[in-house]
């Protein structure tokens, strides 16, 4: 789809979120709460006693952003199926070994998971939703994401070499 049209759609979804829920979009909270849930299953006392996850109680998945993340998955699934863009694959440059690409994805994932908690949101909650409200911190976050990204891009470019 034309990126501007997709952007307008995304903007309308975001606007709907603000006008209906009274809060913006969010994805990383759902991921973090899944983490809290996993820890609860493994070791409930320790999790409930921990200072961060402990605040979410014994049912961390009972949270609107968990449902939103599930929605994102299903929305993505519906759209991918309709557009024929669902193929099980490891996306990478042809000269890059899948193991290397997956290792990058894993380390990047760990960093993203950690950073999202530190900044209290990710590209959805801060960069997109916060910037929409013209919040100083969210716009700073957005700028810093690109600063961090461009500073690192050169060193990890190998994974996209064809």
């Amino acid at each position: 789809m034309n990126p501007y049209l997709a952007g307008i759609l995304l903007g309308i979804a975001l606007l709907a979120s603000y006008l209906i829920l009274g809060a913006g979009l969010g994805a990383s909270a759902g991921i973090a709460r899944t983490g809290a849930y996993c820890e609860l299953v493994l070791n409930p006392t320790r999790t409930l006693a921990s200072k961060y996850f402990g605040n979410w109680g014994d049912q961390p998945l009972n949270y609107y952003l968990v449902f939103m993340l599930a929605g994102v998955f299903f929305g993505g699934l519906i759209s991918a199926l309709f557009s024929g863009r669902n193929k099980i694959t490891v996306e990478r440059g042809t000269k890059c070994k899948p193991q290397k690409r997956l290792l990058y994805a894993l380390i990047g994932g760990i960093i993203v998971g950690f950073a999202s908690r530190l900044a209290n949101g990710c590209t959805s909650g801060q960069a997109l939703s916060g910037s929409t409200l013209l919040l100083t911190g969210s716009l700073l976050f957005l700028i810093c994401v690109f600063v961090g990204g461009y500073a690192t891009a050169y060193f990890v470019r190998g994974q996209w070499h064809d």
Binding site: A6, G24, G113, L140
Partner: protein
């Protein structure tokens, strides 16, 4: 004005979950259609290959921003029905930089990762697993990182930070976006050798819509500004801003230390004094009666005081409280002030001994200084006055909202050996010795209550309770599970002892010992060894109890609810154990056994849905002030537990002395 789930405090309801799911689906479809189910496309922006990320994100931000700004200008939304994220400079800058590194390495961010997974990308699955791990890692490091995440600067808007009007910024922002879009097209043209004609013609039309839309904000903002002079003008962001700026110029957002000292000395119940420094600073010294709230928690913590009484913020200096005050003012608090010259100013102006001052002090003022010093520096004198006063300023039990009130036998069985878990068995000694849950500590509930100021069966003061728990080897951060038999009020009474010590990590074993036993779970006859601890007595006065005087005051207040939980015959006066029968005028009877039921021989609390339904008929909102009482405080502790720990009522107080005291004091009215 529209009504949002956030504004109604209903984001945790099934309806909100369903709405979130639908919005999430729209979000997911938009991301996938944008082509963000591909990590290659997402990383493209970092190599100037594919600028789609910038085009889509910036378009979405501009569209939603214009939408929100118009909605605000028309008065459909305001700061009350939308959640604004506070600005945390250090955390957001550090988090953003790290996030960028992770983003470019993995090629995914959380939302697009979910779409990537839906598109069959294995790298997206690995990314999501990593992100879950990263969240867990953050949880582990949180105690170290907490300081940077707690010192936030409140809700800050970039146009305020830059000192320009919202309309000007929105217009400039739109111009920048359009500039970036054409720049992105130019970059792509350079890369690919040819331009995407269809995209560019769409962009031209799109820009032609955006520009007038952004320009229209000036037209809307202008009349509102002039209208704000008139008293009947509608409430808008701009108007609030003007008010805030005017207040700053006139200094009417300050609160003078001398006035504060006088009002506190007189026990003015209308003042909510808030210390926004760190808990450790607060523990060392704070102005008497102050409550400690971190800036991030201010809007929630102070919500009940919005435009009621005077909210006075202070810190060491003036910058932080001034910013916090402005954020509160933006959220509609017209009663927020900050202390002139901060804590240091207060100490210098009011508490510095007259003899140490460089300028001469009149004898009247010297007497005042002495009175202030006696009140604010001497912990013994005037204690009663402050105690009563701080009870009125209300409870701020935020952390307990997320704790489970009940734990299941199965859960306890799995966690028996966990450190930091303490089990308290309330049965009698012979039964305890014959077999108890492994590791359970024995406690006789009667050792927690006694005659206090000649009121029998009162919960003992914190000093004695702390001593008791020290002897049991309990630490402040222990998670305590209370085990009783079918008298659930025994467990809740012990809960009140923990409340008095501000120990919120306690829960009750659902079904108690009988259920544990019937399930043939492990029992033990060995006495657990206990290492005596030194449980600290809380420094802040408690706020969950009320005295007869406060009950009397609440009787006249419309909107507050008095719940008498004694059996109906006692409520009507048909039966009585005291000098007078009947009930406190205006009280509602909700006998405590109605909150429990017997199921398979165990006494359990009724399901939350039943309790919610029953209490929503008696108490209008979760914020309504409620006082619960019975005869001695024992049964009422159960209702307190149900309301606060199971149902999340926020403003419940326990009248411990109850009917025993009320009936025996002839000056108190009886119905």
């Amino acid at each position: 004005m529209i009504s949002t789930f956030f504004q109604n405090g209903a984001l945790d309801t099934p309806a909100a979950f369903f709405a979130s799911l639908l919005i999430g689906i729209a979000f997911g479809v938009a991301l996938e259609q944008a082509g963000f189910g591909s990590s290659r496309r997402l990383s493209g922006i970092f190599y100037f290959q594919d600028m789609a990320v910038m085009k889509v994100m910036f378009t979405a931000v501009i569209v939603a921003m214009l939408g929100i700004t118009y909605a605000k200008a028309f008065g459909w939304v305001n700061a009350e029905n939308i959640y604004f994220l506070p600005t945390l400079y250090v955390a957001q800058i550090a988090g953003g930089l790290l996030f960028g590194i992770g983003f470019v390495m993995s090629g995914w961010c959380p939302g697009t990762g979910a779409v990537g997974l839906a598109s069959g990308k294995i790298d997206a699955l690995v990314f999501l697993v990593g992100a879950i791990g990263g969240s867990m890692l953050y949880n582990e490091f949180y105690p170290l990182l907490a300081p940077i995440t707690q010192h936030d600067s409140g809700v800050l808007f970039v146009y305020n930070s830059l000192n320009i009007s919202e309309a000007v910024f929105a217009f400039l922002f739109t111009l920048i976006a359009i500039g970036c879009f054409f720049g992105a097209e130019a970059i792509e043209k350079k890369r690919n050798g040819k331009s995407n004609r269809r995209e560019i013609s769409f962009l031209k039309i799109f820009s032609a819509f955006l520009l007038p839309a952004a320009f229209g904000l000036f037209a809307l903002a202008e009349p509102l500004k002039t209208a704000s002079q008139a008293p009947s003008a509608p409430s808008t962001e701009e108007q609030k801003e003007i008010k805030i700026l005017k207040g700053i110029q006139l200094g009417s957002d300050h609160f003078e230390p001398q006035e504060l000292a006088d009002r506190l000395l007189l026990g003015d119940p209308g003042i909510v004094l808030v210390d926004i420094r760190t808990p450790s600073e607060f523990a060392v010294f704070h102005i008497r009666s102050a409550i400690n709230v971190q800036v991030a928690d201010l809007p929630t913590a102070l919500n009940t005081y919005k435009n009621k009484g005077l909210v006075v913020l202070y810190s060491n200096g003036m910058t932080h409280p001034a910013q916090a005050r402005d954020s509160l003012a933006r959220l509609g608090f017209q009663n927020a002030y900050f202390l002139t010259d901060g804590l240091q100013g207060f100490l210098d102006t009011c508490l510095k001994p007259a003899s140490l001052r460089s300028e001469p002090v009149s004898s009247a003022f010297a007497a005042k200084i002495n009175a202030w010093r006696a009140f604010f520096l001497n912990s013994k004198s005037a204690v009663r006055k402050t105690e009563n006063f701080s009870k009125k300023t209300g409870a701020l039990n935020l952390s307990m909202l997320h704790l489970p009130g009940l734990v299941k036998t199965d859960w306890l069985n799995k966690n028996l050996r966990t450190t930091g878990l303490k089990i308290i068995d309330l049965r009698n000694q012979p039964e305890y010795s014959a077999g108890h849950i492994p590791g359970a500590l024995s406690l006789n509930k009667e050792s927690l209550r006694g005659v206090v100021q000649n009121v029998p069966s009162s919960l003992l003061p914190a000093t004695i309770l702390a001593e008791q728990f020290s002897l049991m080897g309990i630490h402040t951060d222990d998670f305590v599970v209370i085990v009783s038999t079918d008298t659930l009020q025994d467990a809740t009474l012990v809960g009140m002892a923990f409340e008095r010590l501000k120990h919120r990590r306690y829960a009750i074993l659902d079904g108690g010992f009988p259920k544990w036993q019937s399930e043939n779970r492990p029992l033990d006859t060995i006495l657990p060894t206990v290492k005596i601890t030194s449980y600290p007595v809380p420094k802040q006065p408690e706020s969950f109890t009320v005295t007869a005087k406060e009950v009397l005051a609440a009787m006249d207040k419309p909107g507050s609810i008095l719940l008498d939980v004694r059996p109906a015959d006692y409520f009507t006066g048909k039966k009585r154990d005291e000098a007078r029968g009947g009930h406190i005028p205006g009280a509602i009877n909700r006998p405590y056994p109605e909150d429990t039921l017997i199921q398979q021989d165990f006494r359990l609390f009724k399901p939350i849905s039943m309790l919610t339904a029953a209490y929503s008929e008696l108490i209008p909102t979760k914020e309504t002030p409620v006082i619960v009482h019975c005869r001695t405080g024992h049964q009422a502790s159960q209702t307190y537990f149900v309301l606060v720990r199971l149902l999340g009522y926020k403003n419940v107080k326990w009248y411990d002395a109850g009917w025993t005291e009320w009936a025996s004091r002839p000056e108190l009215p009886v119905e």
